[in-house]
Subunit: 292 residues, 4 copies
């Protein structure tokens, strides 16, 4: 029975560890002993590596210092099984910094979905290499930082150092590249490992790079797509979170594809980001476990 | 770690009960205590009715009379929580009787997928109100029963009594109406409750009845579909297992729709039947929990 | 060879007439005689009614009073074949009035796509029965008219008279109900016949009325959808322009469906409206010919 | 009005030529002058190359030697515009040779769809590098040629010479590689240029080569697909006819992908082949114009 009394709190446990007998029993008993009612549960055993993944949502009676006490109590259990884990209060919003260049459809879509409450997050700031979208962002009451990125190496390095500083000041949990057309330097990818999400305007691994619709037109594909993925130092090759496609016709120009593609990019990014915000995405090697 | 030693057996526990704290802990501990390694786990808490559903796959060391002993041991646990449940050996194939009329695409598709091992089941017989498909069925080495269904009530009643007898002789777990164009009488639906699967050639609840493509053409829809569902006494209104759609154009005739629809019917039925055979579908009221 | 010289103008001819031999020859000869290069051509012969539909795009050398002269010259041709027809300058934007209630996702989506040039139209005003979305609309520099719609008959009638007046003042080609939750009275449907476009939040004809996601949840469908259609006096039963669907899971709540549905509603309305703006949709009975 | 009198014949004209003013007028007048009623018409102007493509279906009064007379009469028109063209009797079936290896789902699907009349073609023979599928093919009354393909170069060359001879004896219009796992040598591709259709088990251009599902698993994509294309000397890089995708989950093994992929391969190949049989596919460079 769901514990919906006013004193219940909704938490989430995400963990991974080497697979062995008794993990579920141990964790579920731990929760039951504390009066927690499991409301969502998903687990997966990756056979090749023998890794076990779990995501449990539960309602638990509230008490002063609940999260800390629970963390302390669970630590020895986690140690016993060799877990990487986190315990999260469902009501606690992630802080998400958005980066954008000139194409503003994804930014506009995320800001709208955020404002109406469909994306549970806080947006401390938006960073752009252009100044064009300031009015839109400020209309939503969000600070806008214009950090131009020059082409030559030294200027580019300085720009990304400023970007890194701006991001760090914002203390984000997650960074979203909402059609940010600059390539993140490897040191910045590393600093926010598995916390930077990109939307790429193709069905990866097809059409890596900056002109996927041109490549799609060149190849004559009958469907185009979009891919939401974590950014790594390999361009457009990080772990995939979500993908989708839409049909195109021989008569569709590259401009038509760009227009049709926007709908898919918006949808795929909003869906992928939401999965991430709800801790549904666990990275394993270069793939993701998606507890959708 | 998955227990893949030759002495391991793969079983599956499916259960439902009133939701309360401690179910997962109790079940998982029961399994861990017996050396079982959980390989698949899915659960769901339906809030309105406060019902808990679970499907656990596990590998367990084999022993003489394993299934019986495990059943005996689990019975008091199930009783404690008020569970409806079943324990199934994954390697044990369901027996599936197929019924068909004249359109043979679904039948041909299922038989092919069965023969190449994509559908783990045994097919004791095929029953049809026509004799047309005997050669196809017998080529697969399966007995074919021709049971004509007259239009007038007495003849129809007698026919369905024969059909019921034929089905019962085959001792099936499941009955599939693979484009069987006769309406199952309520008493027959009741006899095989939630064990008769139908493929309907529309995206239900649109276009109930025998001429959905004509209705789709009439209404001018831009997508047509197919629905795999359990048969109940309400025509085309039983719990839905799987659905999918395909795009049509204004220039598509009803014959074009029928042809395009076949691809969808085949795919949806094969997918839905497979879910059912793997115990992934739990009926709740008039809906299904689908642990896909 | 496409006539892309600076003096060329892009026009569009849309016509329907009883089918007979020689229509294409006559129209194409008419165009060729005037130096027009056909750039897009689509035609369809509806067999049951014997009706012929065509949509021709062409580039033609510009001249003073071109559209009028062409219209005069084509009139006897059209008369000869009994055509209903229109000749349109591609660069001439339609005027589109938007109506909205409280859900603002479709409105926000259309306004964004309009601003970045993906929807070639002018928006003279937005009308709403609530005042909530004034700031959003005015940020785009568009007048916002708040016309509350009372529940009782007399007030409702007066409200719709004011709405009709507001619409007429705006001299629109097209009216879009972007999640406008009031039912248009028949006299208003008639006044703007086949010029009022609605987005319905279900895959019609399933789930007519105001609570489709609740009905979808009740029925347990595995896909939900959205439908863009012309408004007629029959609720949610007008000619369908475009539809699409998205998969849902048993664990998706009505709120989840509403959130997932927004992506589909946005995409389907943007796509359907664009088809309409480009004269790609020809209504025939209660269906549409879609020259996509 | 469609000329459906018993004396009408349904023909199809497919043509391409440099675009210029007056093509449609000329062709449509040619047809109208001969009493032909155009029932289907599609055309496309490819702007970069200035090429015009057309596909006209028409009903024309029958007469002795109709096709020859029409061909003679149209030849000067075609010459005037520099057309490549063909005139086809719709009722005349293409001869299609099928090649297959061990996976038989596509073969079984095509044979079934052919038998029930969904694919209007004749199948003079099936050729395979294995003997496994003889019984299936012969059940359909079709000759089966077993031509093993050795690994070493000389044997392989000899095998493909026998295959070429077998194909030529069958006098096919089209050759379909229905999961034929041998690479066609360039000289054989050239001999049947744009007449050999392959089904590739990925969403090309991703995952070229023989193990696409393994590559899809490796990359962690969220959708897998299939591609129907013309075979050229570049492996899996020929003009694409049709594509589609299906969603996969992190828990899907490579075997699951292969099983799910079969549904898509079947559908995409059946759809693509049908487009080809109905002369709806015009190759232009490495892309296709698809008059679907």
């Amino acid at each position: 029975m769901s514990n919906n009394s006013p004193k219940a709190r909704s938490l989430r446990l995400i963990a991974r560890c080497p697979d062995r007998i008794g993990i579920v029993a141990r964790v579920a008993t731990f929760l039951a002993d504390r009066g927690a009612s499991i409301t969502q549960a998903a687990q997966y055993e990756e056979l090749r590596s023998g890794t076990f993944f779990m995501r449990y949502g539960f309602d638990i009676p509230d008490a002063p210092g609940l999260l800390e006490k629970l963390t302390d109590a669970f630590t020895p259990v986690a140690k016993e099984f060799g877990m990487e884990w986190k315990l999260r209060d469902v009501s606690q919003r992630q802080r998400v910094v958005l980066l954008v260049s000139k194409f503003d459809h994804c930014l506009a879509y995320l800001l709208h979905r955020w404002k109406v409450g469909d994306l549970k997050m806080d947006v401390p700031c938006v960073i752009s290499n252009h100044n064009d979208l300031r009015a839109l962002v400020e209309w939503y009451g969000i600070p806008y930082h214009h950090v131009p990125v020059p082409k030559e190496a030294a200027g580019k390095q300085a720009a990304f150092e400023e970007i890194a500083r701006r991001i760090e000041e914002a203390e984000p949990d997650t960074v979203v590249l909402a059609r940010y057309m600059q390539i993140f330097p490897p040191w910045l990818c590393e600093k926010f490992r598995h916390r930077v999400i990109n939307i790429h305007h193709s069905f990866l691994p097809s059409f890596v790079g900056g002109r996927p619709y041109h490549q799609a037109d060149e190849r004559g594909v009958k469907l185009i797509g979009a891919t939401c993925h974590y950014v790594t130092e390999d361009l457009d090759a990080g772990p995939i979170i979500e993908q989708d496609v839409v049909r195109v016709r021989h008569s569709d120009t590259i401009e038509d594809m760009m227009r049709l593609g926007k709908d898919v990019e918006n949808t795929v990014l909003a869906r992928g980001l939401r999965y991430h915000l709800e801790d549904r995405v666990l990275v394993h090697g270069n793939k993701t476990i998606l507890f959708a």
